[in-house]
Symmetry: C2
Subunit: 386 residues, 2 copies
Amino acid sequence: MKKFQFVNPTKIIFGKGEIQSLAKEIPIDRKVLILYGGGSIKKSGLLEEIKTVLKDYQLGEFGGIEPNPAYETLMQAVELIRKENYDFLLAVGGGSVIDGTKFIAAAVPFTQDDPWKMIVEGLPIDQALPFAAVLTLPATGSEMNNGAVITRKSLQAKLPFFSPVGFPKFSILDPVYTYTLPEKQIGNGVVDAFVHVMEQYLTYPVQAKVQDRFSEGLLLTLVEEGPKALETPEDYDVRANLMWTATLALNGLIGSGVPQDWSTHMVGHEITALYGLDHAQTLAIVLPSMLEVMKEEKNVKLLQYGERIWNLASDLPAREKSALAIEKTREFFEAMGVKTRFSDYGLGEEVIEKIITSLEAHGMVKLGEKGTVTPQIVRQVLTLSL
Amino acid sequence: MKKFQFVNPTKIIFGKGEIQSLAKEIPIDRKVLILYGGGSIKKSGLLEEIKTVLKDYQLGEFGGIEPNPAYETLMQAVELIRKENYDFLLAVGGGSVIDGTKFIAAAVPFTQDDPWKMIVEGLPIDQALPFAAVLTLPATGSEMNNGAVITRKSLQAKLPFFSPVGFPKFSILDPVYTYTLPEKQIGNGVVDAFVHVMEQYLTYPVQAKVQDRFSEGLLLTLVEEGPKALETPEDYDVRANLMWTATLALNGLIGSGVPQDWSTHMVGHEITALYGLDHAQTLAIVLPSMLEVMKEEKNVKLLQYGERIWNLASDLPAREKSALAIEKTREFFEAMGVKTRFSDYGLGEEVIEKIITSLEAHGMVKLGEKGTVTPQIVRQVLTLSL
């Protein structure tokens, strides 16, 4: 096991009807800005419900945070908050709204320069407005971690940042809010959570047995519950399992003490920035080919994954076992309704050099748990994904 | 899945040599009291190492916190701290030292009455001195939770308490410190952690798939690594796996959203208070018999446990499968060197009524996840354990 530090102070409030806890958790003297996305929380009635629970607070609203939240949009919220002195942010939505809120929370007190520099220059982010989340879409894990991914449209850049002050004070997880999600968002969410686990699990063995078992527990739950979530959208327990799994997939726990990959994510971010594909779509395109190209380096864990997740017989020849494990991964993504090839999205080999150029421009030339995923390797991966 | 709230702000610093982090984690203006047990940290050199790392701090020492930490001892520390104005406590040891330090930390500012009343009257504990831990014995999980168990010798009482301010600020987990532990303490620690998981896992199913998988991951790791820890005491990875498993076995995570039992612990505490057996010894005596007596109520989870932990064939008849699962549990405890019958400790049927009288005196007459473990049931359990 490798050395690690783990800390995660976010309070999780989980279960049907827990929106009522909002008024207990936010100090009454706060001026609260509610942030959300495209307005589905208006249609569903959730926004009104929240306003009712928070009727004794000074409230404001900022809607329109888009998928792959854009710096340009978020800076409007920053201006609004500075002008009207909000001092508590409540993100209501999925990962994009929560990620966007994290950026906003850190950007408001960052008055010395353009907040974009916090990200590109990796400046230390040690101050942020307090914020919390009401999760409506299980996928990214942002509700219980300190990371976010922000897009700057004008630069076609999509970049992650992390900060010790990036944890929500609390997050409310009510599985009922996910009943009305379109199938596509459920499929995307399952793939996103699955690949989060894979980035922290499918590397090389370091005898971290608990981390392996926990990762496998999350993967098995996604494999079991994912298809059910599509078949029976109002099964509370299925949605509860998905929601808690997606949160635990990226809250720092399973990645503690083990090597981490993240090459699939870094390549995926460039694809989204260039071509606008959903985050999960890019992961579904990249991961199976990445595993194929890197299968020698990842051999031991790939075989363990095949046996423990896909019940492949332990006496199957190694070559066959790893091939089957990769095939089953691809089939699972497809079964969740997320296509796994560029051609499925109308893209062809013209994308390859553009993606590589972008990766190089962002300095991402030694990716993966051993830094061996070079632009040449990425070229092989993308070619296999056509 | 049941509703739940989960929060755990303790920072874990894990790995060989991490004692050096102490000076980064404790604010330099603090007056630090180092608390420990019987003095093994003097012999091993750990105390001197800590003093060297903290050479720029005002330091004091309080040794002699015994296994099953006693109110009578702990109140001496409380007096010392009040008199000499220590404002940071550093527990160095296993669960007893950390539990004792939690009590001390809460008792120092509790000046309005006898701090024992915090426990017996369940008074809200909302203030405590900041404290941290250096763990030397993987077992209780106290290093990453907000509970403690305190004994008052004069009353033959051993009682738990919990508090929102009962989390260590940080805990340093260095597996190397466990190399020199006597075999008995390793065996006890493995049994303790194993039963912690069982109390949160072996109840009735609520479709909480992740919690089940995580619990099973911890149990499987204990089953795999426990015997190795006895055979090869200086295997870093084995000790690291045990240490992290014991911490995760009782940090609130696997118990979130599921029913919990704890009847074995409550009966075990009375046995320790009356007869001085080690905590783990009492658990090893009680658990197998408790599972036997409660096997109808626990049937579904007992079969799942048999299949997933002990690899029992899924087509084995249920009666046989549950019997085998219980038998294998007992064999595992014995293999870890922890005996599972009263007679192994020179105790006979005379203990039964005394234990029941104590339980009744402490109001523990409806134990277990459904409150069905009555004194009559406990009598059956104890009889089976003779």
